[in-house]
């Protein structure tokens, strides 16, 4: 497909109209709107681009795909759509930003860029448990991506830690390979959607240990067992060759510390002011997706937030605040 161009890319050393940091649904959706609004758009997507969708299999809740679609394919299509409107995608990792003066400056592992508006869409990554043995055994039995690693656990025993939709998905993917799947959850009920819970609870291969936490991963070259503690503090050993951690996510905001306001958990604080809804504490810097939204955290909501941030960045460039 030939690219459709609504703008000229800036000359070397000149600022882009919009720079988007990130490479998931929020970033690519923002780019579709900013490019179609004739703003020259740079996407700094990182080497390991694609975000959480890269680590999923079937996505059945993104509208427009009645048969479902594979996560990696969906995000690749989003990138292609942004590039069709001539967004410049760079698989570079942003190492620092300077929002103190206009245009804003962005430094990557490969170069330096500037832009008159910035959209933060860096999303969130795996929240690890932070217990002994976890880091040492990562890739040796401990994982956060069942769709990636499940086939290595053919006829093996695995545990899944967590109680949300992603824990349910990990468990279901693993049942295709493992002999047994044990979900360890620290509460007495899941917070996953009813649809996912029903699938999990109906699956005979899946056991659940309620009201318990994993306190240690034990093994030499490979994971051998996990230590599980119940709410009375009683510890038990559970032999397992695989352990999948799905307790949630942490926002990717390290590079924004001191540049825009973050909340106590590290999420970018979203402001509503002058009619803008996706603003940050810094005028001209917008935010979209899981990096600020810890409530919905869906591909489709991230895309929606990205659309809003893209439209608002255009308003900012035109110096016409929305004033709804």
């Amino acid at each position: 497909m030939e690219n459709t161009k609504f703008f000229e890319k800036p000359q070397e050393g000149q600022p882009w109209d919009v720079a988007i940091i990130g490479s998931g649904p929020s970033a690519f959706s923002a780019a579709v709107y900013s490019t179609r609004g004739a703003a020259s758009t740079l996407i700094l997507g990182g080497a390991n681009w694609g975000g959480q969708l890269m680590l999923t299999t079937d996505v059945d809740n993104y509208p427009g795909f009645p048969e479902g679609i594979q996560g990696p394919e969906l995000v690749a299509k989003m990138r292609a759509q942004a590039e069709r409107f001539d967004a410049e995608f760079k698989a570079e990792d942003v190492v620092s930003v300077d929002f103190s003066s206009n245009p804003f400056k962005l430094k990557t592992d490969a170069g330096e860029y500037s832009a008159n508006a910035v959209i933060i869409g860096t999303g969130a990554g795996t929240h690890w448990l932070g217990v002994p043995g976890e880091e040492k055994l990562r890739g040796r039995g401990v994982s956060s991506c069942a769709p990636c690693d499940a086939p290595f656990f053919k006829e093996k025993r695995v545990v899944v830690v967590g109680g949300g939709d992603s824990a349910m998905e990990e468990a279901l993917v693993l049942t295709k390979y493992a002999t047994s799947v044990t979900i360890i959850h620290r509460r007495d009920a899941f917070r996953a959607s009813q649809a996912m819970q029903q699938k999990v609870l109906a699956n005979k291969k899946i056991n659940v240990i309620w009201n318990s936490e994993v306190t240690e991963f034990v093994g030499g070259d490979k994971l051998e067992k996990v230590i599980v503690k119940d709410k009375d503090g009683k510890a038990a050993e559970l032999p397992a060759e695989g352990a999948f951690v799905a307790i949630g996510h942490v926002p990717a905001t390290e590079i924004f510390k001191g540049q825009v306001e973050l909340d106590e958990k590290g999420y970018v604080k979203r402001y509503e002011k002058d009619g803008y809804k996706m603003a940050t504490s810094k005028e001209g810097v917008f935010v979209a997706g899981d990096v600020h939204d810890f409530h919905y955290r869906q591909a489709v909501t991230a895309a929606g937030f990205g659309c809003m941030a893209g439209m608002e960045a255009l308003k900012h460039l035109d110096k016409e605040p929305p004033n709804y």
Binding site: A47, N48, D149, P151, F152
Partner: protein, 107 residues
Amino acid sequence: MATVNITDGDFDARVLQSKTPVLVDFWAPWCGPCRLAEPVLEELSEAYKDKVVIAKINVDENQDNPGKYGVMSIPTTILFKGGREEGRQVGFAGKKGFEDLIKKVVN
């Protein structure tokens, strides 16, 4: 030089007995991050030609060597020199992740 495809059958000959260090990429077609790593590995196979061979082994079709080297997550890349493991990278950490590994044996 492009990347080369290897199997359990020729792993010993092309990796362990290779005079040139070999970076082996354990991958599978269904793995999203593996696909991201692909063009980067192609690029590095050119940048380091004559210094490092970059080889790919499909873990769906070849299970002996992933098992032997304790690979339980993909992508995993392991660097071999003189038949010995010199280091490994679990997950795709971009070009720099691979280059840090390669630099253990190449100046």
